[in-house]
Symmetry: none
Subunit: 248 residues, 2 copies
């Protein structure tokens, strides 16, 4: 460790001499070792200690940088989420989106929604219906014209996809459920097209409740998806979405 101490001292002096701003990148280890007249091994000893102190951080393929590691990105990985937690979250978010969509959708949005409903009703394949179902919900989210809410919706969607959702859909959506889903979709699309936020909110709420019922039934039937959240018991319909005016 004798050389390591030397290196640490040399590094401290070097950095103090340059007074680099935080976030600055140091020379690569090989170059730096040469410049300071140290062996790379000794230099790395010193760098390791400085990293321990939090004065710098190192990344393979990137380099060595002063200051704290850059937040390691706002890497917000959504937790996987149990199915009933997911449904509770969708129940909280998507009816609001539907209400806003009814108030603010433009012609393009309406066309996308209408198309998703129609194509979903035409297809016979369950799996393909699932894709159009997803497309519809996304189209509604887009129609709300709020990039933040759209991002939140996508987050939710992403953690719905990872996870046992696709398997579930195939397992518990039968032809009757699909037909009911189509009808609910149509009601939703009509409410949005009619610029009726309250009706759109209610339609989405009913639709999601219907999906949640399927899941609850499956759970009750002994599937092992874990205990779910508590949204089930009370309807709570129609809230504030009236008048999400069409300002802009």
């Amino acid at each position: 460790m004798r050389k390591g101490d030397e290196a640490l001292q040399a590094l401290r002096a070097y950095l103090a001499g340059l007074s680099l701003p935080e976030g600055a990148r140091l020379a690569p280890e090989r170059d730096l070792a040469a410049k300071l007249g140290l062996s790379r091994r000794a230099l790395r000893e010193g760098l390791a200690r400085l990293e321990l102190e939090g004065r710098l951080w190192r990344g393979v393929g990137q380099g060595t940088f002063l200051g704290p590691r850059p937040a390691s990105e706002p890497l917000r990985v959504m937790p996987p989420g149990r199915p009933l937690d997911i449904m509770e979250a969708r129940l909280a978010l998507e009816p609001q989106l539907a209400g806003l969509a009814a108030a603010k959708a433009n012609a393009e949005n309406l066309a996308a929604i209408e198309q998703a409903v129609r194509r979903g009703s035409e297809t016979a394949d369950i799996e393909s219906w699932g894709r159009w179902d997803t497309a519809l919900h996304r189209a509604v989210a887009e129609a709300a014209q709020n990039p933040l809410l759209l991002a939140l919706f996508e987050q939710l969607e992403s953690c719905r996809i990872r996870g046992e959702w696709s398997m579930m859909r195939a397992a518990l959506v039968d032809e009757a459920a699909r037909r009911r889903g189509v009808a609910e979709h149509r009601r939703l699309a009509e409410a949005i097209a009619a610029r009726d936020p309250a009706a759109a909110h209610a339609a989405m709420w009913d639709h999601l409740q219907s999906v949640a019922s399927l899941i609850r039934d499956a759970l009750r039937a002994g599937q092992a998806w874990g205990p779910g959240a508590a949204f089930g018991s009370v309807p709570r319909e129609q809230e504030d979405d009236r008048d999400a005016d069409a300002a802009e």
Copy 2:
């Protein structure tokens, strides 16, 4: 359009003959045109019609695919978001969180909420009040007992922090606004403690509307935060989320 119709027909026959699964990728336009004996222009006419119908989607540099356009992977980072967009999103999400919190908060949650309200009311400093305000909203989100919704709330929070929010708060929260905020917080906490989801929902909604009003006033006063979302023009008071659940 004569050739376009021909191409459409040829395409339909071609696709029907292959019965490709949804999501499958078609041959590049140039190759496909050669294979079908069509000019590329005519082929593109047909493809455009099919895309209008939603049977396929095309992406430059990617190709032509059957089925609905897949959702782009969710942004890792939230878009910055204009203040009024943020408020619209909070208005959509947080009242729901408050309702769930009223139904599901445990003793620890209630203590955290109560503490945030109390400490916020005690402090005189505007900046410190802001911290307790944030703490309260977060405590409510935690009380909803849904990890997914909590994650969504944090996402929203993160993009509220980056951005001109802190400056704004200092700029447009005066002593009167703070006192009103404290009162609204108290009403919210009491509704949650009383296990009254509807009241909690309404309290949060009113509180956020009050904050939104401040922002709208600031915008009207000529601040340059850009045109905001659309919830602005109508006060939208008095809602009726009767019957929220007291599930569980």
